[in-house]
């Protein structure tokens, strides 16, 4: 079935109604076509915009994503371009609008849900794990729903504006989880996620959104980065470091230090997709280096390092020359004060220390 969105809603629900596809593109999604470098945030905005243009089935739901453009302004101007039936400002009801997205997916649409902060995905935990994740298995059809939003600490956001949510969903078969670390990947992975027929949780680290040093010029042609494939960030022969998100950048710093000061060669894999895990890439590397460090910003106990350690035991134990180790946040809620939060989060010096320990092992 093919859909055409009808004219803007009647006035009694939407004073925001705007003519459909007549207003110019918002400026922040035009950088790539103008050959300019984009930030992580702009890459995401471009992916959303381009997918909405490419496929009339794609639409967005979330709090304040319309006229305001979302808490981080990712969708600024979208409502003028696509109208208020494709950019839906929702009541504050994460479960309700995520459930509604599931219904829309049943009808053949491809909803992209924004959580204002990913911390607020938790009221939707039930509908995501029990309904969305299980739909295909239960025989109720595919669930091409993407749930995206800002995650991560370091911004003095306190316990409810700083969480990483991957491990809330990692244990749920049927979901995919994506967590990019660069503008290129963010755009390509988000496009892949939108085109994927499985539900995808898509995490965007706030600390990357506008980081100027990450800006890069992206291909002008359409591209996707396939889900489920890790990226080799740096080749190395002595230690494998598996990480993702913000920690990719800290790990690169640490690896440079090790190379420069210790002459130790660290290979870095950016997982990009956390579920399903790219076992092959991890095993390949571990079989070559014999040493593995997992670094994640999320808290320690029950973090993804455990699953990776288990799989390496299952698939590459004989190649290990040292214990698999991890660097992670401490087991606590995310504290607000700068002193506390910096202590809470894994820092570059932690990675350096862990790598040195492994190198000497």
């Amino acid at each position: 079935m093919s859909f055409n969105f009808s004219a803007p809603a009647t006035e009694d629900t939407e004073a925001d109604s705007a003519p459909v596809v007549t207003i110019d593109k918002p400026e922040h999604v035009t950088k790539t076509e103008r050959g300019e470098p984009v930030t992580f945030l702009e890459a995401i905005a471009e992916a959303l915009f381009e997918e909405m243009v490419r496929d009339g089935h794609v639409f967005l739901l979330g709090e304040d994503i319309g006229v305001y453009g979302g808490a981080f302004k990712v969708t600024k101007g979208f409502i003028d371009h696509f109208g208020s039936e494709r950019i839906i400002d929702t009541p504050i009801s994460e479960a309700g609008f995520t459930g509604a997205a599931a219904g829309a997916a049943h009808m053949g649409l491809r909803p992209v849900v924004e959580m204002q902060f990913m911390d607020f995905i938790s009221p939707a935990y039930d509908v995501i794990t029990n309904y969305i994740a299980t739909s295909l298995y239960r025989g109720s059809g595919p669930m091409p729903v993407v749930i995206r939003g800002p995650v991560g600490g370091g911004n003095r956001g306190g316990p409810f504006h700083s969480q990483n949510v991957e491990m809330a969903f990692f244990h749920t078969p049927g979901l995919k989880i994506v967590y990019p670390s660069t503008p290129y990947d963010a755009k390509g992975l988000l496009k892949a996620a939108i085109r994927d027929d499985d539900p995808v949780i898509f995490e965007e680290h706030k600390g990357l959104y506008r980081a100027p040093q990450l800006r890069e010029v992206l291909p002008t042609e359409d591209y996707v980065v396939p889900l489920g494939k890790a990226r080799q960030v740096r080749e190395g022969s002595d230690i494998t470091l598996v990480t993702y998100g913000m920690m990719v950048h800290r790990s690169v710093e640490a690896a440079s230090t090790l190379q420069g000061e210790d002459g130790v060669s660290v290979e870095i894999l950016d997982l990009r997709t956390l579920l399903p895990l790219d076992d092959e890439a991890i095993m390949d590397s571990v079989r070559r280096t014999g040493r593995l460090l997992v670094v994640h910003e999320d808290t320690r106990t029950g973090g993804i390092a455990g699953e990776i350690a288990m799989r390496v035991n299952e698939q590459a134990f004989e190649f290990l020359d040292a214990p698999i180790l991890r660097v992670a946040a401490i087991d606590a809620p995310v504290p607000y004060a700068g002193t506390l939060e910096d202590y809470f989060l894994p820092q570059t010096h932690d990675v350096v220390t862990a790598l040195r320990y492994l190198a000497r092992y």
Binding site: S6, T13, F97, D279, E314
Partner: protein
């Protein structure tokens, strides 16, 4: 009865003709016959897990679904069914055979044995099967009807809930979403006095669930849920309003759950007289009596429908009983589109943990 205007013969009641009225009766009888037959299968050991009946509530599902534009090509109205709306499932085009296969977890069933009771979908017939967590389906149906509106399809969605479900945050968020977006949505609250063992007064302070509608700025109506024509008329109005862009209506259908929550509930918390009182208000008995009294049908015509329903269920039940369970190995399939979940490594021909990899 997709279009009353096309019905043959004179209008007898609620703007319906004789064939319509007979159909209403037929589907209530079919629901009851199917559930009766299922109970036998449970006692015979064919059904595992809970068995939930709509006994005494058949008029709600049948009367309301009858007001919908029912099609089998995926372009009609939709319902979010529950275990208390067996008749609505059949009226939409679901069959007793599907129903039995599902309850018996057969490989031929609509979910190939993955899910239980009425938890199955058939989008072409407009059937949205539930999950257990209460309230979810109101959210999902809100999204379905959002799409009807977004894309200008003249379709309506109807979601059933129990009195207990209205206490859930999920129901609140779903209904409010539909109300704000003015989705073509009809919410029916089957107020049947209990949620499992919990009486309504421990669920809400309201005397009538129409009071809930006031919290969402939507229309509402309370009907005698054991009067199939009253349910039909109220739903028809609500559906017409929804299709015309008038938004959401909440219908309270006052009825009674004459058996326990499920087969394993001995209903000890209910006074015997209460059940007896409602036996006298049986929706099928009442409708039969009225049809005969008003001269809309002969006893013999209704008897024939009863017999046909029972025979059909008997035949379908026997068939479902003979059919096979799903193959065990299917358990790993369709967790994801195009990915197969790994078989446990301990069951590989040559067990090795490396085989555990995806």
């Amino acid at each position: 009865m997709n279009d009353p205007a096309r019905a043959d013969g004179p209008r007898l009641a609620a703007d319906l003709g004789k064939s319509d009225l007979l159909e209403l009766y037929e589907y209530m009888a079919l629901a009851r016959a199917a559930e009766d037959r299922l109970e036998i299968m449970l006692k015979q050991g064919h059904v595992k897990g809970g068995l939930y009946r709509s006994l005494g509530q058949e008029a709600v599902g049948v009367g309301s679904a009858f007001a919908l534009d029912r099609r089998v090509d995926g372009t009609g109205d939709m319902i979010a069914q529950t275990v208390r709306t067996t008749g609505a499932i059949f009226l939409m085009g679901g069959t007793p055979l599907q129903y039995f296969r599902q309850y018996l977890a057969r490989s031929t069933g609509p979910t190939r044995g993955r899910e239980a009771n009425v938890h199955w979908c058939d989008f072409r017939k407009g059937l949205l099967g539930p999950v257990s967590p209460l309230g979810t389906m109101t959210q999902v149906m809100a999204g379905i009807t959002l799409v009807f509106k977004q894309t200008g399809q003249p379709r309506v969605g109807l979601a059933y809930a129990g009195d207990g479900q209205t206490s859930t945050g999920a129901w609140h968020e779903g209904l409010n979403f539909a109300a704000v977006r003015r989705c073509p949505f009809v919410a029916i609250v089957q107020s049947n006095k209990y949620a499992f063992s919990t009486p309504i007064r421990l669920q809400t302070r309201l005397a009538s669930f129409t009071g809930k509608a006031a919290g969402y700025g939507i229309e509402s109506r309370s009907v005698d849920g054991n009067d199939v024509l009253e349910v039909f008329e109220a739903t028809r109005d609500a559906v017409a309003r929804a299709r015309d862009g008038g938004g959401v209506t909440l219908i309270e259908a006052r009825t009674y759950r004459r058996l326990g929550h499920a087969q394993h509930d001995a209903q000890e918390y209910v006074p015997r007289e209460e059940i007896e009182e409602w036996e006298r208000k049986d929706p099928i008995g009442r409708f039969r009596e009225r049809m005969v009294r008003e001269g809309w049908a002969l006893e013999s015509e209704l008897d024939a429908l009863d017999v046909a329903a029972r025979e059909r269920c008997e035949k379908d039940a026997e068939r479902a009983i003979q059919e096979p369970a799903p193959d065990a190995e299917e358990a790993v399939q369709r967790v994801y589109e195009g990915l197969i979940t790994s078989v446990p490594w301990t069951r590989l021909p040559e067990p090795t943990p490396r085989g555990a990899a995806i």
